[in-house]
Amino acid sequence: MNSIRATVSKVLTYSIVDGPGNRLVVFLQGCNFDCSACHNPHTIGECNHCGDCIPACHADALSLVDGRIAFDAAACDQCDDCLDACPIDANPMVRDYTVEEILALAREHRPFLSGVTVSGGEPTRQLKFVVALFEAIKADEALHGLDCFIDSNGNLGASGWEHLLPVTDGVMLDIKSFDNALHRELTGKGNVKSLQSARLLNEAGKLYELRFLLVPGQTDGDAEMDRLIDFVRTLGGEVRVRLNAFQHHGVRPKALEWEPMSKAGVGRAAARLRDAGIRNVVEPAVYV
């Protein structure tokens, strides 16, 4: 099982924003949403080996070998020009990791780690890998005590969660909008599955955090706020709600025309939730 591979955009061994404590984070490539507001859109697509990125690479780290993109990590100087050149929001610098390779990294950094988070992209698209990774972490003596979290858009059916939940300790779930039409506009998909996932995870006691992205004029209005409050109440009202603020960093041209969310605006939304009796509301600490 430990030879199962995943397409990985990036691995961090220090992260304080992807779940409780300090975490090893595996960003899996590829997403089933196509959000204009995505701040790392190069994790959305999957490379089709068209080769358009090769001329953009001044370090000659990219080439085509047998019709497939070959990436020389040693030559790369992380200028990221290839990401701008990619016509499909993919990333030629992705690499495959086996479960065993991630385990080795986790062992090396074990004393500093509270747990492991898979993020993305949308990590549940590579479900078999995630299940195998989490099973292996829990079976590994040296990694005893690490918890396993998923950062997901929730676009996964009940049978998918059935596979994941036995080995998953917590999920951070994004709801982009409570209005199905607006959700479709923002992400390219409807919100039914995401809302169902939130309920399912909450019932299983594994909804660590519900995340909601505030975009001025789109998701911060009265109707969205009221539905957010109602939804959190139907979950019992105790779940931790993280309000994220839409910012320009990394987003694609369309979203650059939107106004960034101000700290004051997030503060107003948070106050509204708290006034409605939702106690566990977290606001961003940093605005970039």
Partner: protein
């Protein structure tokens, strides 16, 4: 003489200093009119060139640099000299400590150590409610900051988890004062996760406390114990350090032709000169100054045999980079394995030299190695063995690069890990980083949360807003063209030098 008089006059007339600050600088200038303890020519030259350094402590050492009284003595016996009876209640115990602090000298004239406060006060807490304890600690804390305004004044709590330690953490986070500085001694066996979690939340709130690896420290000292004082100096309890001298490793490296010469002759030579400087200052303190005739010794607060000599080093980063250049290697300290390994080898060589060189009138007959965290006028010389400011890698890589140094620095070593303010939503991360650092061999864990007003500079706390005020004032002072009446009016209380400062950092006036 004219120069001296001019300097005295400028101290007296400096509107940014309060009377007590003026008195301290005046006394330092007076001391420095005396001749220096006798040094051989080589040592003198190295001192003048500041390859070795006496921390500008003054020409006539008449008090140890750091004094760590066993305050348990005065709490259990009272003091005949101070006419203090044995305290019976918590109020009396705190009052006794408040009096005691004013009789403990140090390099700055203010106590650098105010005790293992939970251990000292717990015996007086039976029958005291939590609310009462909170009120009393809160007043005590306010008193300390307002009457002993020195960021180097240091309180210790732990390693046990107890109600006094918890109350102190609660009050410290609420008041967000610069003084006192605070260290939690942590032992995974006895402290438990709860108080460490509380400390993590406090760090996110106000960058305090600093966490000490009690297991490692306890092993380096004896049964009488140790204390963490000032800028993370670890010293014998009921004793302290007579002196702190330090070697500027960058200056040593510059004087070596090659890496091999550095290890074979240059480094040993300057280490020896620093030993001589240390011994000369200790001899004066013990043989001439009369300090140890004090009631502190007679009543048993301190024992003259428990004073060590702190052997400091700094500018390791620059030293390694200078040697890398001489050897034609590109790797930089903190980022390159070869450069980092060279640094570790330098630490090991210095530690060997310190272990092998006997010193007279020093606890256990040997100095203790210390990674020295700098003075305000150090330029292009990074404190201790730290990675230069602004270039540090992420906290985990940072710890991994420096951990191998920590085994050698028994008298204290600290790295300041900078963590972005996202951690305020996730203080568990600080706890995990601390555990990781200790598992890697770190003796101390210190964090600056970026954007907190209360931050550490070289290890002592400052309020950024105070610094801003003082800078603005200095700016207007150098702008001498319009020092009119309006400007003079603005030289009011608001624009004075911060009331609470790190006195050790400014060893003399104008430094």
């Amino acid at each position: 003489m004219q120069d001296n008089l001019r300097k005295l006059r400028s101290i007296v007339n400096d509107a940014t200093l309060n009377p007590a600050q003026k008195a301290r600088y005046l006394s330092l200038e007076a001391e420095n009119l005396l001749p220096y303890p006798s040094l051989d020519a080589e040592t003198r030259q190295a001192l003048d060139e500041r390859v070795i350094c006496d921390m500008y402590e003054g020409h006539a050492p008449h008090k140890p640099r750091y004094v760590l009284p066993d305050y348990g003595v005065v709490l259990q016996q009272g003091s005949e000299y101070l006419e203090l009876p044995v305290p019976a209640t918590l109020d009396e115990a705190i009052n006794t400590l408040m009096i005691a602090y004013h009789h403990v000298p140090s390099v700055t004239g203010m106590p650098v150590y105010i005790g293992q406060l939970d251990e000292l006060l717990l015996p007086f807490c039976a029958g005291v409610s939590d609310d009462e304890l909170y009120d009393k600690i809160r007043l005590f804390w306010r008193y300390l900051d307002r009457t002993l305004p020195d960021a180097f004044m240091h309180a210790n709590i732990g390693p046990s988890d107890n109600r006094v330690a918890r109350t102190i953490l609660r009050v410290d986070a609420e008041l967000r004062q610069i003084a006192p500085n605070l260290t939690l001694l942590y032992d995974p066996q006895t402290s438990g996760d709860e108080i460490l979690a509380m400390a993590g939340r406090n760090i996110a709130e106000c960058c305090k406390p600093h966490i000490a690896n009690h297991v490692v420290h306890a092993d380096a000292f004896d049964e009488r114990g140790y204390g963490i004082v000032s800028c993370y100096n670890v010293l014998p309890l009921a004793g302290g350090a007579s002196t702190l001298t330090r070697v500027n490793l960058k200056e040593v490296a510059r004087r070596a032709g090659s890496e091999a010469e550095f290890f074979a002759t240059t480094l040993p030579h300057f280490l020896e000169l620093n030993f001589r400087l240390t011994q000369a200052r200790i001899d004066y303190l013990f043989d001439e100054s009369g300090f140890f005739d004090s009631f502190l010794v007679q009543e048993g607060w301190i024992d003259k045999n428990r004073f060590t000599a702190m052997f400091g080093v700094f500018a390791m980063a620059e030293a390694v980079n200078v040697l890398q250049d001489k050897e034609g290697r590109e790797g930089r300290y903190g980022f390159d394995e070869t450069a980092n390994a060279l640094g570790h080898r330098i630490s090991a060589a210095i530690a060997d030299a310190v272990r092998e060189r006997p010193l007279d009138k020093v606890w256990r007959g040997r100095a203790l190695l210390h990674s020295q965290a700098g003075l305000s006028d150090d330029s292009e010389a990074t404190p201790g063995v730290r990675i230069p400011y602004g270039t540090e890698p992420d906290p985990v890589t940072h710890v991994q690069a420096l951990a191998p140094h920590h085994q050698y620095y028994e008298a204290g070593i600290s790295e300041i890990l900078t963590v972005d303010e996202s951690v305020t939503n996730n203080p568990e991360a600080l706890v995990q980083l601390c555990k990781g650092a200790f598992a890697s061999g770190f003796r101390e864990f210190t964090v600056n949360v970026a954007s907190n007003d209360l931050v550490r500079v070289t290890g002592y706390m400052v309020r950024l807003s105070d610094i801003r005020k003082f800078r603005e004032k200095q700016g207007s002072r150098t702008n001498t063209t319009v020092l009119g009446a309006e400007a003079a009016e603005q030289t009011g209380i608001l624009d004075r030098k911060p009331r609470v400062v790190g006195n050790e950092l400014y060893p003399g006036y104008g430094q």
